[in-house]
Amino acid sequence: MPPRKSRARGNGAADGALPANLSGDDLADYYRRMALCRAIDERIWALNRQGKVPIAASSQGHEAAQLGSLLAAEKDGDCFLFPYYRDLALKFAAGITAEEVMRSFMGKAGDPYSNGRQFPLQGADLPRKIIQISNVVAAGLTQSVGYALACKMRGEQTVVLVYFGDGASSQGETHEAMNFAAVHKLPVIFICENNRYAISVPQRKQMGVEEVASRAAGYGFPGFAIDGMDFIGCYEATREAINSARAQGPVLLEMKVERFMSHTTDDDDRRYRPPDEVTQARQRDPLITFGNLLLEQGVLTQEQIDHAAADALAAVDAATDAADNASPPDVSTLHQMVYSG
């Protein structure tokens, strides 16, 4: 069953009960993860300004999309993820520690993705079923389709979720990946986190259409555009897409999100973006709307919400110190693993 299109949900004001298949504990847990993601994301940005983190891409504003879909994948239990460089929240919430995140951003030994060889959180985290070889835009898409093909060959039921931005939709490889997945009806969910910018390039210079989701029809599979600031909506759409993908083949899910920060720590979005755009966007901050929803639904108290923020800060503090004191990768590793044995 294809997921339903968009949810008209005001700033977290739920129009109904929470999904039956989620417990309050699930939601409270995910709220805490989101708070932790936000706290570490902000800290990383600050550490960049202090010269301790060379580069970072923020997922602030994308958290509902990333964590809503992650929750659906976790609940399903047999999903494999190919995220992209903006998926800090996704990768962190998938299960590595705050210290590991920090080691990765500082280029220290013990970075779980590449042991300090790559940009932060890039490489692979196989225990958490994640691969992201590079930050070359759209390069993961065909790989994710190949992964799904292999699972199918092996008789496995795995559904693959691959993440990319609106800019990535222009790459030829995105087309090739979707086309192949369609021909072979592979269980792949193409999740486009559309924040309407590719660095500075606005959507109208990127494509001649309003919705990336409109591409799906040209391949012969369903495509939906949903509100990517709505955690529950993203969860539900992904859950339905997982079922649909496993039964019938690919789904394109466009999650409309907002990029709160500049493209990366190297960027300054004041060059190309009207200042009130971000102020506006922050009105719909997924951390706040999700928190409000859980408050309204009685899942969390205000005190618990405050606690979550404080706990997050404490965890990030500890992680920062630990990573800062950690050793760099040994110089001998430069020459290792060019080839696998």
């Binding site: 490489g123 070359v136 390069a139 790989q143 992964y147 093909l149 060959m153 030829g172 090739e176 086309n179």
Partner: protein, 327 residues
């Protein structure tokens, strides 16, 4: 032992490896019912079915990218690029991604993928069906690059490539496919990647080559032998890993080196061989290092006259051998 052509040896290697290991599968344009445009996969769809011999859409980036993703999940893909000239759309996946997958994940991810690519010219293919692409892969750490010249080598090396856990670019010179025939043992055998083969021992000078040009070198060596020029002819067989020791040992013995290949001379494989020797065997050198290679034009043209003029053939090689021997 039976006499076989290179294309038969290639097909046999694929078939044997597919029988041996259910994770091996073929994908590419026209590899199915058509059996590949050179018939390397002829009959395989009948034996292994459409799920293991996959006719892909016409899109090389996806052929390699999808194979790479399948390798991540433990399959052993054998993608085919129909002609080397069409590999360019795929190099983002091959040079950019596949070559860095192991290194970039600190060894977490393996890439047991072998990309087969018919390459080279001499078949009236013109500018877009004759290209030599080996140097681009040779200059990419993380890839292995294999360039067999005989049926025996092709089979043994392809089997090893398929079993290797690294991305291998397996380059089959398309003119050798039917032209070059030779004995191939009936039973199972493999040849290690990274070991050159002395196809003709000799003492006067060393020739280093690979692929089709290797045969032209042997012809040239034959031609000058009666003149007392006793050339040692080394077939690199694999460009990466490069068997530096065999080259150096030979040059330290002969004191003279000629490298021949079809690819453009400037910045080709011959440049690295020359650099290696000029550094590591400098004291043994009795003459300048010579190269007989394709000229620096965008590969060989279509007209017979121009194609012939491009190719480093036995006559051109023999001339260079005489000059070098006389030095």
């Amino acid at each position: 032992m039976a006499v076989k052509s290179v294309i038969e040896a290639v097909r046999e290697a694929i078939r044997e490896e597919m029988r041996r290991d259910p994770t091996v599968f073929v994908m590419g344009e026209d590899v199915g019912a058509r059996g590949g445009v050179f018939l390397a996969t002829q009959g395989l769809m009948e034996e292994f079915g459409e799920d293991r011999i996959i006719d892909t859409p016409l899109a090389e980036a996806s052929i390699v990218g999808i194979a790479l993703g399948a390798a991540f999940r433990g399959q052993r893909p054998l993608p085919e690029i129909q002609f080397s000239d069409f590999v360019w759309p795929s190099v983002n996946q091959l040079i950019g991604e596949a070559a860095r997958s192991c290194y970039g994940t600190n060894g977490a991810v393996q890439v047991p993928m072998t990309v087969r690519i018919p390459y080279g010219g001499g078949i009236r293919g013109g500018l877009f069906h004759s290209q030599n692409v080996e140097t681009h892969f040779f200059h990419t750490p993380g890839l292995k690059v294999v360039t067999p010249s005989t049926p025996y080598d092709a089979k043994g090396l392809l089997k090893s490539a398929i079993r290797d856990n690294n991305p291998v670019v397996f380059l089959e010179h398309k003119k050798t496919y039917r032209l070059v025939r030779g004995e191939v043992p009936d039973g199972e055998y493999t040849l290690p990647l990274g070991v050159a083969d002395i196809k003709r021992p000799g003492n006067t000078l060393t020739i280093v080559s690979y692929g089709l040009t290797l045969h032209y070198c042997l012809e040239a060596a034959q031609e000058v032998a009666p003149e007392g020029i006793d050339a040692e002819v080394i077939d690199l067989r694999t460009l990466t890993p490069l068997d530096r020791e065999t080259i150096l040992t030979s040059v330290r013995k002969t004191g003279k080196l000629l490298i021949a290949h079809e690819d453009n001379v400037t910045g080709g494989i011959g440049a690295e061989i020359a650099a290696l020797v000029a550094d590591q065997a400098f004291e043994y050198l009795d003459g300048p290092i010579a190269r007989v290679c394709g000229p620096d034009v965008p590969t060989m043209p279509f007209a017979q006259t121009l194609e012939d003029a491009y190719i480093p053939d036995p006559t051109k090689i023999a001339t260079a051998l005489r000059r070098l021997a006389a030095y």
